[in-house]
Symmetry: D2
Subunit: 293 residues, 4 copies
């Protein structure tokens, strides 16, 4: 089977490399010449447009920033759609608005092209070692047919429902992660203001009911004043915007998510959009005149 990959960024590049490493015939396209050349050196074939990728591939993966980028990659002039023929499959692995996924699926269905939304969780290191988590929405049979391919890139691949379900799951994930970061920020801000040593508090509570992957991963970063990403504030703003756009379309009230979004705006406004999302703590540090260290 011939594969195509569009979007060779922080995540896409290592994911594409893993496909090549697994012996697949891969055609790639990205605006960044460097990334394309790196893949070609690994054995991939360069394409000059998305259309060309589609023409040469049976399954085309996209891994770009947000809904408008996926739309552009698929449907702009010279885009994937122009190179598609009946029976091919598009798998979008970007984290985007699930309503957009559903729209793309419908447009591709008219060409008799299958579509899966398969966003991932886990950062660059997990993309490199092929251990990202992949949550997949779409036709169950189409999922089964492409599961092996996804398992090359991910440590766990989970089917979660109809088209859009992958991204909805990812949004739920991002809502929870953002709130869990805010949660530790509030708890540790309280402790710090009361004069405690955050390191001692961490030792006392991280194995109990308050424990979380976020606490283990992010509180030591806060204490060490290390806000190197990881996952950038800017990306989390994008994800919460998609979450809120989705929740507002469904009319589901998410008061704390909305609140954390405002906190992220403040963090961004203070020039920390490029920080790791653990910088949510900086909002609490700012308003309460303290540092969690």
């Amino acid at each position: 089977m011939k594969l195509g990959f569009i979007g060779l960024g922080i995540m896409g590049k290592p994911m594409a490399k893993n496909l090549v490493k697994a012996g697949h015939d891969l055609t790639v396209f990205d605006f960044k010449e460097d990334a394309v050349e790196e893949l070609v050196a690994d054995g991939a074939t360069e394409a000059k447009t998305g259309k060309e990728v589609a023409e040469k591939s049976d399954v085309i993966f996209t891994m770009v920033p947000n809904s408008p980028n996926v739309e552009a990659a698929l449907f702009n002039e010279g885009g994937v759609a122009e190179g598609l023929t009946a029976g091919k499959t598009v798998i979008d692995m970007s984290s985007i608005n699930p309503l957009a996924s559903q729209g793309f699926a419908k447009r591709l269905a008219k060409l008799n092209v299958g579509f899966l939304d398969a966003p991932v969780s886990g950062g660059e290191p997990k993309a490199i070692d092929g251990s990202i988590a992949i949550m997949v929405g779409g036709d169950k049979d189409l999922y089964e047919k492409n599961k092996d391919l996804l398992e090359i890139m991910g440590g766990s691949v989970t089917y979660v429902g109809a088209v859009g379900a992958g991204n909805t799951t990812k949004l739920a994930n991002q809502v929870i992660v953002a709130l869990n970061i805010a949660a530790v920020s509030e708890g540790f801000a309280l402790a710090k203001k009361a004069g405690l040593d955050p390191k001692m508090v961490f030792d006392a509570i991280h194995t109990g009911l308050a424990g979380s992957t976020v606490m283990d991963a992010k509180v030591p970063m806060m204490i060490d004043r290390n806000f190197k990403p990881g996952f950038r504030v800017d990306l989390h703003i994008k994800d919460l915007q998609n979450a809120l756009d989705t929740s507002h379309a469904l009319h589901v009230g998410l008061p704390l998510t909305a609140e954390v979004m405002e906190i992220l705006q403040v963090v961004k406004n203070d020039g920390n959009g490029g920080d790791d999302h653990s910088a949510i703590a900086k909002f609490y540090e700012k308003i309460n005149d303290l540092t969690i260290d």
Copy 2:
């Protein structure tokens, strides 16, 4: 060394039993006759007042609901203070307001009586098998001297700073737990409203960055519609009230904690104060007309 224990409730009873089982000479007091008799059957000695407990013991443990109960147990007529002499130690293991702990320590210091605040985390099952986490505030030497005793009751015992630090740590813990429950509630409410199966979403995300002890422990309860405590909404309201009283005394802003407190009021008002705190989800189910199952 002779030990005393006051407050033989859900948590105190098994903790006291573990002290007896470890071979300690224990004098106990509680309003509840049943619990006292059970301890006596195990080998403890009954006292009729806190004063009597204090007279017969070198170290007196208290495990009662909240700050006013500790105050009553210690300083009311017939209370512990009346039976204390210089050199004895009081260890309060209740989860209370850290500022109250500091007040009690001061009043006891006048009697040359040492004081540790040593609240615990982990529910009844962990109290029974002696694996609760204990976070201790107070004089470091006094802590060292009593560490062995605490280790009989707890799986992990952590020193976190001066008097009050134990309870501040516990409050930070409770803030984080409450927010983590709200976090999964928002994430899963969004997913449910979008038509997904919460069980599938759980499978897809619980091992990733969104994972938490709360997610593993509480989301399956929500899905199974099992709100049997565990840790009651009423107790969590008490803890967040202590957290907010403390944060307001320190003038530290905790917007999401304040928000979850309002959510808990609604849960309580709907008659669910006796539910497990995972019933925070019921607020989201109520406002959004859905159930996370």
Copy 3:
């Protein structure tokens, strides 16, 4: 001077009628035949497209629901832009995203067409009697030139700055109105739950520092269980979405606005999108199991 008017809805129809009544030569267009015919009966001229309106008019007013509708009216095939020539003026009186206003102004400037954003405040009755408040953004000279026309439709016309300023002012207004409604809802929910008679509370406080146009206009509606609009929840959701889109573009944190937006989602989800925005009170009634009457 020849005038054009596009969008003869609840607000646009009476505003257009006031222009005709003042003796102006008016060409109108709307999808709704009825409204067009009513204006023609009053003396206006019917156009079949926006293009035709623009060809026949020196100043073209638009009064449609939201940014995409303005975009469609101006720039779709057969739209206003096709009929514009240098020196004409477009005055958009819809309440839309100010960033969209700025975009439209730029596109029209390329045709040497002037643009003002001039959203209004005050509902249908004030549109009928010509007493709405109009806040205008754009070139100051252009504003001065068109002020007389605006004064036909509005009781107060205020210049507030460059293009987009009209809509930003309108959004600030809508933020404040939504929060003031939530404010009285919280105050009266507390009073009601405490057993007081909302009418007595209203009498006691509405003339003091807590007094507001919202309190005088909306609390009696709540007490009388009259949620007939006035201004619909759906429109207020649109406005807060524009406010949050704008604040997120500027990275300004507005936590309470974000919170009220979630409240409005719940009100909408409960089937009350067509209610007057005083139905924000219904959220409080729902969560607290009471009615403010």
Copy 4:
């Protein structure tokens, strides 16, 4: 009828003076010698204790900061209760927790002493010119009997229900005022960040639906950078604490009130507790790096 007055602070002093000016025989007590002497110069009689005030008076007014102060004034050694006899009346005009008012009423009822809670709204200038608003809770007949006295001190006197209703009404008032200040802060923060002139925005919207007594009184203060009280942040924190203590006792969820309380903590922590409560705007200025001027 002989009157007594306890608490001659910012509000109490001018209120007491108005009673003397109206020709009443008034006995006064306060810790502050200055204030007492000023009243004596006006014709009042000095008492050395609350007990003495009660002995010499038929109706005793209290106007002290908060619930514990009222409790101390009434029930401490040498307090009012010791000088009371059956048939006398206590009217507490302090702004306190309504549940405390109900407790005081019960304790006084045992002495056959009547009790009204009659907190006031409007600051020092209105206390001086006798135009404050007074909201009264308690027995309706007792209210009728004392209405004339209250009207000497207040411009409007409104009966709002059983004991505690006066303070509940006052708390509802304070909830609304705090939220209305936050509302204008959010609206004007948005406008300022978008580059608008707050003065122009004020002119454009203050007469419309967004208008409020708060907008007229406080926005010009923000623009002029004048945070001289008026009503201090510290007092508003006290009032919202009473509101939240009351709402939590009733289990009524007030999410925005809880949120503004956290904002006030930040304002206080930044050293602005003595500012006028319009300093709520400073929170928004701090988080968004702007000033509303």
